[in-house]
């Protein structure tokens, strides 16, 4: 397999209003690469939910998007509090987000389920007190 095209982003955890900038950027990048609108939408929604999660739960982190010939891989890594119970976190409607986050329209317990919904493969590595890495894959072919 040839080397993937890699896009790296630092996600600022301080400002909720700017959350999503990396997802907008990746959407533009993938559009320039000529990927189909459906694939672009799936990648950008999954990444956007991840970006929001990193801002509201983990004070930011990093996002790396690797574009291979047959898939797009998104790796989101943070040094946040970690996820205590991943099975619970995957349930729609379960959330540990604060009321202030909810008042902004997020924290409905749909973030991780949505990320899974739009990707072909999703893996969560999380250690409480250390951080979380979410790896998602979207097949192109």
């Amino acid at each position: 397999m040839s080397e993937p095209l890699v896009f790296h982003f630092d996600i600022n955890g301080d400002d909720f209003s700017t959350a999503g900038q990396a997802s907008v950027q990746i959407k533009n990048n993938l559009r320039q690469l000529g990927l189909s609108p459906e694939i672009i939408r799936r990648v950008s929604i999954a990444m956007y939910e991840g970006e929001i999660n990193m801002v509201i739960h983990a004070n930011g982190g990093t996002a790396d998007v690797k574009v291979y010939e047959d898939c797009v891989e998104i790796i989101l890594a943070d040094n946040g509090p970690g996820i205590k119970d991943i099975d619970m976190a995957m349930k729609e409607g379960y959330s540990t987000a604060s009321d202030s986050t909810r008042s902004l329209g997020f924290g409905a317990g749909m973030g991780l389920p949505n990320m899974k919904r739009y990707t072909d493969d999703m893996k969560i590595d999380s250690t409480v007190g250390v951080g979380t890495t979410v790896t998602m894959k979207i097949n192109i072919a």
Binding site: F16, S17, T18, A19, G20, S23, V24, K27, P37, R41, S44, I45, Y48, E49, I52, L104, G105, F106, G107, A108, G109, M110, G111, P113, N114, R117, Y118
Partner: protein, 117 residues
């Protein structure tokens, strides 16, 4: 249904991207929870919401939505309108409540959205 027809049905005021009023909307979604909006695939959709923050515009942008209607006379900030302009998303506001605005559009033929399995 065109965005112009939507505007007329709910008596909305256009705040940006007036040049796109003739675009066709195929579905709509009335919601204040952005993750719920992101859970459902829509094609050329309209978002009606009472929530006002930049993430509303970003959510619409991620979903390739073509129009945002702020209900109950809520007014978006200039920053939000600038974001919407970058993607050509028509932004409007109307003084109706969410339920009423959605009901008017639905009863005139603008249906909801498909659930993605």
């Amino acid at each position: 249904m065109t965005i112009r027809e939507i505007k007329d049905l709910i008596g909305a005021e256009v705040l940006c991207c007036e040049q796109n009023l003739e675009r066709d909307a195929y579905s709509a979604c009335g919601c204040d929870l952005m993750s719920d909006v992101l859970a459902y695939v829509k094609d050329q959709a309209v978002l009606l919401t009472g929530l006002v923050n930049p993430q509303v515009v970003r959510t619409a942008e991620m979903m390739d939505m073509i129009c945002i209607v702020f209900v109950r006379s809520k007014t978006p900030t200039k920053e939000m309108l600038d974001l919407a302009k970058e993607s050509g998303i028509v932004v409007m506001k109307c003084n109706k409540r969410l339920y009423e605005a959605c009901g008017l559009l639905y009863s005139n033929g603008l249906v909801g959205n498909k659930v993605k399995d």
